[in-house]
Amino acid sequence: MEYIYASLLLHAAKKDITEDAIKAVLNAAGVEVDEVRVKAVAAALKEVNIDEVIKNAAAMPVAAVPAGG
């Protein structure tokens, strides 16, 4: 989860989630960075609306089960 926490930190700090930024954060945390994973995560996150996801995660009523998916 390190890569995700780093990305969320950048997001909360209103910074762009770039490969370099993730790497910098991970390095500061003393995490040995795997270039390949950083690339993969940064690329995939470009397609994710993090604000939306967080809003949904927080707003989730207990009973919010989309019946049909």
Binding site: L8, R37, V41, E47, V48, A57, A58
Partner: protein
Amino acid sequence: MSVIEERKIPKWKIDEVASLEEKLKNSKTVIIADVQGFPADKLHEIRKKLRNIADMKVTRNTLFLIAAKRAGLDVEKLEKYISGTNAFIFTNENPFSISILLSKFKLKRYPMPGDKADEEVVIPAGDTGMTAGPILSTFGKLKVQTKVQDGKVHVVKDTLIAKPGDPIPPEAAPILQKLGIMPVYVKLKLKAAYHENLVIPSDQLELNVDQYRSMIAEAARDSLALGVEIAYPVPDVLKITIGRAYTRALAIAAEAGYITPETAQMVLTKAMSKAYAVLSAISGKVDLGVEVPKAIQS
């Protein structure tokens, strides 16, 4: 080897063996089905439904075994399944596919004494077409409300007389016959399949498709869980991972009592839910003039 003995064998038997041998040679699979006491008309129905997929033949066990030997089957593996009255299903299909196909045919029949219902048995409201007479007392015994109209028995409202699994009251038989209600399923009992030198016994042959469905669901769920856990870098998975990371962060904030505008709701809610839980634990003994919210009481 006596030539004389062979001559004694009637021609139809020789032809039958030849025909069976031919079928066996042309089929990857032969399935042995128990048809002892199986209704002939239902067997006919099955044969019709299997057309173009499989060829079903009821024949004598001895003739089948001779043909099987000649066709090069490992007869020893089969012998224990060859007793009683059998139908033999020849096909090039996967034997499990045939088994599934057969299990899907809902063949029904009228109940015989001692039968249990395979589906709900409901006597429908309306004109039964039956002449009022002694039959009325049978309806009465079954607790089916009736009235007589123009000399015919009318059922007042839809009435359930047996749930699936219930024994069907024997006295209901004539009524069900008259109304065309067939609540008992007929299923061909498969004993074994012989497929490419493998013998597959019935317990393996009968597949529970739902079980496979739930295995797929389980595998899919585990895969997703693993993908989420390792932040598998595809957007759909990462969405869940992010949601989970965020939820964890909120939970940590709440537990640590770390308040920011973003976490305030979570932190205070958690503290309050603990307070209400304590309040509710002593509410029987102490009146603090505070009501425990209903949701928590339950």
